[in-house]
Symmetry: C2
Subunit: 221 residues, 2 copies
Amino acid sequence: MPKLRVDSFTISLDGYAVGPNQRLDAPFGDGTEGLHDWMFATRTARAGQGLDGGEDGLDDERVARHGEGAGATIMGRNMFGPFRGPWEDESWKGWWGDNPPYHNDVFVLTHHERPTFHLEGGNVFHFVDATPGAVLKEAFAAAGGKDVLLAGGAATIRQFLRAGLVDELNLVIAPILVGGGERLFEDLDDALQRYEVTEMISSKTVTHVRLARRADPAPDA
Amino acid sequence: MPKLRVDSFTISLDGYAVGPNQRLDAPFGDGTEGLHDWMFATRTARAGQGLDGGEDGLDDERVARHGEGAGATIMGRNMFGPFRGPWEDESWKGWWGDNPPYHNDVFVLTHHERPTFHLEGGNVFHFVDATPGAVLKEAFAAAGGKDVLLAGGAATIRQFLRAGLVDELNLVIAPILVGGGERLFEDLDDALQRYEVTEMISSKTVTHVRLARRADPAPDA
């Protein structure tokens, strides 16, 4: 069965995915310096930027596998861009330049729809005002039997967790203290009772954690 | 210089030190089953209970070093017992039986003072209504040049962090999802800017993390 997966979603030791005041020149908000250094330091990430060298090993394996086998992507509107509310214009095409790293159909959850657009590398951005379940159905259809990657951000992942739709949640805990902002583990009611931690392993730099659905869920989950 | 240390204070993956509804028959509250299993499974903890066997390695090393070299202890009143408000009687002597594991002067922070009492093994419990700074001064005096162990709970550690008094904070992240309760990393204002993560390492079971004061603190910390 194809899965809805979160891959290497990074949170700080104190639990924050982003700091306060996200904006165009600080996509992850204040106090998040270093949060994703583990990723940029890998051989795979460096190669993607045309650079030699970089870290091998566990972190690199995880970066290399990010989105592997996924045939569609879902993200929240706040991950797509720094703007909130109605689109002032539609010139913003995301943070990722002409050839974003998704290479499939990307469904952006938003209350403010806009026309689908195409970028290089098979990237097609759709804007959908729908429930998590309805978007996921569309994404699975687009994925043609492959997994769907739930890219983020934290609020969108929480929304899918609360709806019981996430099959596998791969997290990275970075040794950074952000001090405030948006948490992943917040307002989840009993949603986490459906999950168990199936892996917790440290590289030299960060800790990788995998949550998967319980084979035997708690009685009231 | 003697330090104020927190040793192997365990939090869940989602950040909770205790769940909701702490009470006499559930000292860590609801949903915390397994939170301290890593500790009870070690050779050192088992030997303390007269049992053979147990896990060696990193977890065991940390349990063996818990409180090592400390000459006094500080804890919050909610760690000392499940009762809140004025003492109804003074028969409660803590969770630890006749010979608690501290073996030194234990200062219990409380707004409801009661007489000092002595237990076996050099355990002397004092009840102090004072600021963190004043209690720490007393504890350092009692420790006679040794470190002071800040035992917990979360609210008490936060209080000492906010006051800038903690020198070293050793945490354990357990692969458990509690879903609610009391967080360690909450309401700390800018206190964490004084700290950096100096170690993050996984055993088979948990992740050990050390926070220490920054040699070069952030300008506004």
